[in-house]
Subunit: 222 residues, 2 copies
């Protein structure tokens, strides 16, 4: 039996550039499963018609045909449990570290221009000069300039939330079925954002608000 992966190619058939196909080539290597690739072009719909859809990666493993990189990864872990796991070998502390890095290097940066003038307005008077001096020096913009640019910062804030909405479509908490430190990290960022914002950032039926309420309810903090 030959294991076959249909792999996106350019004009040069050795040019294999699909990010989703690369995931699966590494996943197959991780599980130590030999395979061959067939170069595939976007318009070769007939070649993968047996998969019931029109995109690669498509894996043909004996009489099993699997499309979609996520479905293939899950298939491989289920079909070859004796080989190294794709999922359960990931370290849970690394999960918290990834979420921390993303929150501090991306999410906080998207929130700051939306709320920094609101924070300044709500500080104790003795803190305002300190806050202005440290933040304006670090961010190289004045509080007043941030205030004037608040609306312009909203699209980037909304865009930064996209990964959270995507995660919450398939699971109740960021950490999985119950909350853990990855939830606490993201909750902290969005609690900060919604508490200080002078205008509402979320409607009550927003999926993020529902998740925040689930976190609080889990700890009897609602």
């Amino acid at each position: 039996m030959t294991r076959i992966l249909y792999d996106l190619a350019g004009a040069d058939e050795s040019f294999r550039f699909s990010p989703y196909c690369w995931r699966i080539k590494l996943a197959l290597a991780h599980k130590n499963l030999p395979y061959e690739t067939i170069p595939w072009r976007f318009t070769d719909k007939d070649a993968i018609a047996m998969s019931g859809q029109g995109k690669v990666p498509v894996l043909v493993d004996g009489d099993k045909v699997v499309a979609d990189s996520q479905a293939i990864a899950e298939y491989l872990d289920a079909a070859y449990p004796a080989e190294a796991s794709l999922f359960s070998e990931a370290d849970c502390r690394a999960f918290a570290n990834f979420v921390k890095s993303w929150t501090e290097r991306s999410l906080h940066h998207a929130i700051t221009p939306v709320v920094i003038a609101d924070i300044y307005a709500r500080l104790a008077p003795q803190d305002q000069p300190y806050f202005r001096q440290t933040r304006e020096a670090a961010l190289k913009r004045s509080i007043e300039d941030f205030a004037a640019g608040r609306e312009a910062a909203m699209p980037a804030f909304r865009a930064a939330l996209a990964p959270i909405y995507a995660v919450l479509k398939t699971q109740a908490f960021i950490s999985g079925e119950t909350p853990a430190y990855p939830d606490h990290i993201v909750f902290g960022a969005l609690q900060w954002a919604r508490l200080v914002s002078s205008t509402p950032l979320f409607t009550e039926d927003d999926a993020i608000v529902a998740w925040m309420n689930r976190v609080l309810a889990e700890y009897d903090l609602l």
Copy 2:
């Protein structure tokens, strides 16, 4: 013994907005550890001088003083192992799902404007009309407009990489000490980016290149 958390406050001392303090309030709740908060202002440096630094959260737990949210979270998990873990309860499949969501909703969006014209140029001739039609319809910009805006897209691409650089400062792989599916997902995105880019995106001594080489070496693919 009273457990004390120094918690950032605004002019109204009940206004508690720090994202880092919120992480720890949830972490304490997760571990079912009662505590009291002391409202703290940015300029109250004397009040937390015993912590050896000048920011909150600061936790005073008996005769133990711990500053920095990450250090506090790790202290709590180590000091109270009989309580629910902050880290090890997170589900590893949720880790892959988070990385997948971030990669597809943020990282890919930052890469696309940098490389889409380069991809078009390298496709098989029969694929170019399909690619142009589907991508221009989805993204509402022409391939030529993307080509002209390539340099303008570089700062957002660089900014999107910041969480990866931060993670790789403290661990060898995104998944922890060995690579797993979260690495495969991010590798796929950056392999796509560097393979198709008409100009180099990384220097050879870049920490991301070093990580990609570690992933390939792990699977004897170098």
